[in-house]
Amino acid sequence: MELFTNQVLAGIATGAIYACMALAVVMIYQAIDHLNFAQGEMAMFSTFISWQLMQWGVPYWGAFIIALALSFVGGIAIERILFKPLAKAPVLTNVAGFIALYAIINSSAGLIWDFTIKQYPTPFGSSPFLGSQLISTHQAGMIGVTVLLLIGLYFFFQYTRIGLAMRAAASVPESARLVGINTSWMIALGWGMATAIGAIAGMLIAPVVFLEPNMMGGVLIYGFAAAVLGGLTSPFGAVVGGFLVGIFENLAGTYIPGVGNELKLPIALALIISVLVVKPAGLFGRHIVKRV
């Protein structure tokens, strides 16, 4: 039983990271109808920036905040420079844009910081959490920060005018323009926020997977899986999907005989495909109720 609880809690901790990545992916998908393959690389780059700041002597939380702010601005810049001009281009052109972005960020990181694996600090420590062997303080910190982030985002989208405007712009762009919303800037803002959310995920997972240019590859695949599982049209679904994938990944690795670390990924993906066969829109995919 202790092993089970332990695995579930550990699953929630990594699930929190998948939830952040899934949320970032869904936010951009809602805004521009494309999957951002470079989301993981963007998060990795943000994490490197925070690491570099710490190398220069900035304390952890200072580096965290500065990296978040830079990620936000960087996300907006990427949208303005690369994807705004591609807005009316065919799908494949956009896909090429994302792949280019992926390659550019990955190799720039390698060029600047090289490909050796680096230690990344945790502000939470890694002792047992509250004296319990079930979960470490860092894992508890991952969950705590994510929960705070999700609550903040919920209030932002539900109770602020700009959050309302962003939702409107994503759901019916033409009507949004007709009430005076600058939809183009709402998309840019979405990119900024998604990039900052990804940065949080990167900085939280870096002490676990270690810092290097390919650190987010696996994480992003789970994030995509979570987004698809929850439903690409539902931010809430993406978050739930993230936690479910995290938990399932850990339980499968522990309890299904022969499934070591190598087989965890295919098993998780197989589960997701089976869910999608039954519910193609994902668990929480939006069923738009419409009358004409």
Partner: protein, 237 residues
């Protein structure tokens, strides 16, 4: 009487296809003007051109200021509220959020809150359903929501594209009654596109008839309604 909207020699294009061929008309401050015409005549295109949602040339002046080359979202800030064909409801959001979105360019929070109450007084059914997803409203309720959403801007001019579409005759009467009231009491000028010519002419003071992208007939709404020859040849009733 002062001219609020003045459209001169308007030509509009969808890609290579020209939909408006030099269309001119004007609307007086405080007027309720209707734009009539058959399917494909160019009514929707005219409204879309005013809000710069389609490529066009020609002059569009609102209150003496040119609107050409301004973005759709900035034209709203002149006080022009456009209810598009199909209503443009934010179907996944609540009724109340739809109303708040209508006022998204305003900064006076107290005024917005009292205007929402005013809309609920105009349209009691919206109050009953204020937390409901707007997509679940009936067609008539959605049309009322669309009109209310437009009014939340406190517009000087309201552009309505076929508000009667798909509604039962009784509901249409109701809606047109409310439009007339808004026009008289709240001093909102209204340009309404309609296929239901008979009803629109009862409501409006001024009327224009469009055929294949040109104005072919204009005048006082009552005169047109009373002239059988015009009615037969241009409006088919």
């Amino acid at each position: 009487m002062t001219t609020l909207l003045n459209v001169k020699d308007l030509r509009a294009y969808y890609g290579q296809v020209q939909a408006l061929h030099g269309l001119s008309f004007s609307l007086n401050e405080g007027s309720l003007t209707t734009l009539l015409g058959a399917n494909g005549a160019g009514k929707t295109t005219t409204l879309r051109a005013i809000c710069n949602m389609v490529r066009s040339t020609g002059g569009i002046e609102f209150d003496g200021k040119p609107l050409n080359n301004r973005s759709t979202e900035s034209i709203v800030r002149f006080g022009i509220a456009h209810v598009p064909q199909g209503r443009g409801t934010f179907t996944t959001m609540t009724v109340e959020e739809n109303l708040q979105l209508g006022a998204i360019t305003r900064k006076d929070n107290a005024g917005i809150i009292s205007d929402i109450e005013r809309m609920y007084a105009h349209f009691p059914v919206l109050k009953q359903r204020h937390t409901q997803q707007a997509g679940t409203l009936s067609g008539g309720e959605q049309q009322m929501l669309a009109v209310a959403r437009a009014l939340m801007l406190r517009p000087r001019l309201m552009l309505l594209d076929e508000p009667s579409f798909g509604l039962a005759p009784l509901v249409v009467r109701d809606l047109f009654g409310i439009l007339g009231k808004i026009n008289r009491e709240d001093k909102v000028s209204i340009l309404v596109v309609e296929q239901n010519a008979q009803l629109a002419l009862e409501l409006a003071d001024q009327a224009y008839v469009i055929e294949t992208g040109r104005i072919v007939m204009s005048g006082n709404a009552k005169d047109i309604a009373n002239n059988e020859e015009i009615r037969k040849s241009y409006l088919g009733y």
